[in-house]
Symmetry: C2
Subunit: 486 residues, 2 copies
C-alpha cells in the first residue's frame, strides 16, 4: 500500500507542478505523464495477489482494531477499484486533461461552447463510471459515494429541502436591513504586501513551513504528498482584500489536517483524511468559524492595520468585522458569504444530478445555471466566465464533490461548538491570537484518527451526536442577528 | 517505451522539485517516492514481453535506418537493464538518497567523516554494479561505459597522458607572466539585478521560456521532462559575478540541446541526447567557446554595463575580457578556468579508478585529494568543503561521470571550429549578439539527430574526423597567447 501511495503521491506532485510552475508548452506531455502514473497506480491496486492478501487478512482474528480497520477500508477501496478497467482509467485521465485545457481556453474566450464538447465527453465517461460502479436508485449516488461514503440523492435532497427555506428566510430578513459597507475591502492592496501578510498569518496559524510551502497558482488549492510535505497555493487580487486572506486561512485549514495525519500510517487508510466533507469541515472551521469571528480579529486586526496602514487606519474593528461578513447574493461561489454559499452548492448539486440521469444535457448547462441563479439568488449572471465556467471541478472529473462543501460547513459548526465546550477559555485564547489549543483539540479528536471512522461515526464520537444542521443554522442566526440587528 | 519514459520523466520532476522547492522535512518520504518510481521503470524496462518484441523487431528487414537504430539502441539498454535486479535498483536508489542527505550534512559540518559511511556503502554498491554489468580489464570500465559508451581506462589514461603535459607547459608559461586583475568581478552584485541580467541573457540565447523555466537551487543543473519542458537552475553569489552568469550560459547550452530534440521521438533513443560528453559539449561550447569570447562580449558588455553601471563603468571591454579568462590554479572545479579545469577532472578520474579497483579505500579520499591538488595544481586545500566534499556527483551515485566533462570540452572545441568554417560570418554574427545561426547549425547537425550516432560517429559525421584533442589545445594556446602575451 505504501508502494502504491508513492505512485499516487508522485502523481500529485506532477499535478501540483502543473498548477504552479509548468511552462505552457509542457501541458500536453504532462497530461500523458499523469495518465501513465494513474494507470500504474490503478494496475498496482487491482493486482489479484493483493486481493488474496486482503482476503486472508480479513479472516484473521488477531488484528488490533486499527489494523482491522486498515484492512477493511483497503479492501472496500480495492473492490471498488477492481470495477475499473485500466483502459477506462487511462481514458478518463486523458479526457480530464483535455477538458481541463479546454476549460482554461473557454475562460479566456468567455465562451462555454469552447468547453462543451470535451466536457460532454467527460460527462459521458462519468455516466459510464456510475454504471461500472453500480448504484441503488440514482446513477449520481455512485459518484456521490466516491466523495462521501453513504451520501445519496435521497439524503441530500432532504437536507437541502430542510435547509434552504431557513436560509431563504434569514436572507430575506437581512435584505430588509440597511446593507453593510465593505468598500474598504476593495481598495488597492499591493501584491507583495498581501503575500507577506498572508505568510505571517499562515505561520501564526501553526502551518509548519518545514513540512510544507505556499506558492501562487491560478486557483487556490491544497495538496499533500505525505504529512511532512503539504503544499498550499493562493492567488492575489490587488483590488480585493478578501480574495487572498480567507483563501489562505481556508487552505491552511486543509493543510493542518494533512500535517496532522499520523505519518506511521502513510499509505494506509488510517494515514488518510476521514472524508472530503470532514476535510472541508477543517478548512471552513478555520476560514469561517475562526477566521471571520470577532474574537479572531480582536488580535489580528491591529496587526493587519500595521501591514496596510493607509487602507485600514480609519476603519474600526467593528466596521471591519461587519464588512467581512456582509451578506449579498452574488455570482461567484468562492467569494460568496457563509449564507448564500449554500445556494451556489445546491444549484451545482441539482445540475449534476440532472446531468447524470440525463434530465438535461451538457448543452443545457448555461441556461439551467442562469435560470437557477435568477430564481434562487435573484441575480442575472452577466457572462459564462462568471457563470457556469467559474469552477475547475468538472474539468477535473469531480462530479459529486460540491455537496461535501456544504456538509463541511455543517460539520464545522458542530465541531466548533463542541470545541468551545471542551476547551477552557477558547474564546479568550482566540482573542489573544492563540489557536494552538484549538489545533491540538482538532489533532487529537479528528486528525490523528485518519480514516478510522466514517464522517458520521467521527461526528458522533467527537460531538456526541450525528450531523445536525441546526448547529449551522443557529450559528448563522446568532452571527447575523448581531451583525444586522435582526 | 513512451510509457516507461513517462515514469522516468515523472521521477525527474520529483528530483527537480527536491532540489528547488521541497520543504526540509519532506526529504525522507521523497527519497522513498523516487525509489519507488525507479523500481517501477526498471521493472517495466525488464519485462520479458518487451525482450521478445525487441528480438522480433531486430529481425525485421523493412525498418528504416532510424527505426532500426531505435530498436538496436533500445535493445542494448534493455539487455543492460536486465542485468540489474529490482532489489538492487531499489537498494541503490535508497543508498543514493541516504548518501545525498549525509553529503548535505557533511558540507554543513565541513567534515568528510559525516559522509564517509554512507558514501562507502554507495561505493560498495557501485563495485557490485560493475560486477553485475561485467567488464573487460578494469571494473571502472563498466561504470564509464554507462556515461560514455566505449570509454575505457585505457583510452582515458592515454588521453590524459597526452594532454596534461601540454596543459602543464601552457600553465607554466602563463604563470611566468604578470597576473590579470579580475577583482572587479568580486564586487557586490545584488541578487535581484543578477537574476534579471541572467534571465535577459538566457532569453537572448534563444532558450524558449514557453517550453522551460529557470529557478534557484543550491547547485545549478538542467533537467528535461520532454522537449517542451526543460528546466534549468542557477545560484546567485552576490560577491562573485562569475558564479551565476556562466552557469546560466552553461545550463542554457544543455537546455537548448534538450529543447532541440525531436519531440516525435519522445521515449525512444532518437529522442534522447547522443551521450553525456556530447551533452557537455553543448554546455561548454556556449559557456566557453561562445560565452568567454571577445566577440560575444562586444555585443553583451555594453548591455551588462547598463545592468551594473557602478560596478563596470570604469572597466574596459578588454579588461573585462581578460578578467573573465584569468588562469589560476584553485580548489573548486566549477569555478576553475578552462585550462586548470582538466586537472580537477583528472584527479577525480584517478580517484574513482582507484576506488573501484580497491587500490584506495573510501577513508583515503581526503588524503588522496589533498595530495594530488598539491602535486598537480600546487594548492593547499584549506578544508574538506573546498576539497573532496565539493561535488554532488558521488552522492548521486555518478561514478564515471567526470571524464565526460573533459571530453565535452574537447568536442566543443572541434564542433565550434567546424561551425566557424561552415557558417558564413559566424564571428561577425556573434559580435552582433546574433547566435541563432549557430543554434540552428547545432540543431541540424547535433540536436535533431538524437542518439542515431555514438559520440565518435557523430563527431566524424559533423566535423569530418573523430575526436582530436588538438582542436582543444590549439584553442587554448591561441586564446591565452593573446590574453597573456605569451
Amino acid at each position: 500500500m505504501r508502494f502504491i501511495a508513492d505512485v499516487k503521491n508522485a502523481n500529485a506532485i506532477l499535478q501540483w507542478d502543473q498548477e504552479t510552475y509548468l511552462p505552457p508548452k509542457g501541458a500536453q506531455f504532462r497530461g500523458q505523464q499523469i495518465s501513465t502514473l494513474s494507470e500504474i497506480s490503478h494496475r498496482l491496486f487491482s493486482e489479484d495477489e493483493l486481493g488474496i492478501i486482503l482476503k486472508d487478512l480479513l479472516q484473521k482474528n488477531d488484528l488490533s482494531a486499527e489494523q482491522k480497520r486498515n484492512v477493511e477500508r483497503t479492501n472496500e477501496d480495492y473492490l471498488k477499484n477492481k470495477k475499473y478497467t485500466s483502459g477506462f482509467v487511462r481514458k478518463l485521465s486523458e479526457q480530464i486533461n483535455k477538458a481541463f485545457h479546454s476549460w482554461i481556453e473557454s475562460r479566456k474566450q468567455n465562451s462555454f461552447s469552447v468547453y462543451e464538447k470535451d466536457l460532454d465527453g467527460l460527462i459521458q465517461l462519468k455516466r459510464q463510471e456510475a454504471e461500472m460502479l453500480g448504484y441503488h436508485k440514482h446513477p449520481y449516488n455512485a459518484l456521490l459515494d466516491e466523495f462521501e461514503k453513504g451520501a445519496t440523492v435521497e439524503l441530500l435532497d432532504k437536507t437541502f429541502t430542510n435547509l434552504l427555506p431557513t436560509l431563504k428566510n434569514l436572507l430575506d430578513k437581512i435584505s430588509s436591513k440597511p446593507q453593510i459597507d465593505d468598500s474598504f475591502l476593495k481598495q488597492n492592496f499591493p501584491k507583495q504586501q498581501q503575500w507577506e501578510w498572508g505568510m505571517e498569518l499562515i505561520k501564526n496559524l501553526n502551518f509548519d513551513f518545514q513540512a510544507g510551502r505556499q506558492d501562487i497558482s491560478e486557483h487556490p488549492f491544497s495538496v499533500s504528498f505525505n504529512p511532512h510535505d503539504v503544499r498550499i497555493t493562493t492567488r492575489i487580487d490587488e483590488d480585493d482584500f478578501g480574495n487572498m486572506t480567507w483563501s489562505c486561512i481556508h487552505e491552511t485549514g486543509h493543510a493542518l489536517y494533512e500535517q496532522g495525519l499520523p505519518e506511521e500510517e502513510y499509505g494506509l487508510p488510517l494515514g488518510e483524511a476521514c472524508s472530503y466533507s470532514i476535510h472541508e469541515s477543517q478548512s471552513r472551521l478555520w476560514e469561517n468559524n475562526v477566521g471571520r469571528s470577532k474574537n479572531f480579529w480582536e488580535h489580528y486586526y491591529p496587526i493587519l492595520q500595521k501591514h496596510f496602514p493607509s487602507q485600514f487606519q480609519n476603519i474600526s474593528l467593528e466596521a471591519f468585522y461587519k464588512g467581512i461578513n456582509k451578506v449579498e447574493p452574488s455570482f461567484i461561489r468562492t467569494e460568496a458569504d457563509e449564507l448564500t454559499y449554500h445556494f451556489h452548492v445546491y444549484i451545482r448539486y441539482e445540475l449534476e444530478k440532472k446531468l447524470l440521469d440525463k434530465t438535461i444535457s451538457t448543452h443545457d448547462i448555461p441556461a439551467f445555471w442562469n435560470e437557477h441563479y435568477k430564481n434562487l439568488l435573484g441575480v442575472n449572471v452577466p457572462n459564462e466566465k462568471k457563470g457556469c465556467l467559474q469552477d475547475v471541478h468538472w474539468s477535473h472529473g469531480s462530479f459529486g464533490y460540491f455537496p461535501t462543501y456544504s456538509l463541511g460547513s455543517f460539520y464545522a459548526a458542530q465541531f466548533f461548538e463542541t470545541a468551545k465546550k471542551q476547551i477552557l477559555n477558547l474564546d479568550k485564547e482566540i482573542k489573544l491570537g492563540n489557536t494552538i489549543s484549538l489545533l491540538n483539540w482538532l489533532r487529537q479528536n479528528i486528525h490523528q484518527r485518519g480514516k478510522f471512522y466514517t464522517s458520521e461515526q467521527l461526528c458522533k464520537e467527537v460531538t456526541g451526536s450525528t450531523l445536525d444542521v441546526n448547529y449551522f443554522t443557529n450559528y448563522l442566526l446568532h452571527k447575523y442577528t448581531s451583525i444586522y440587528n435582526l
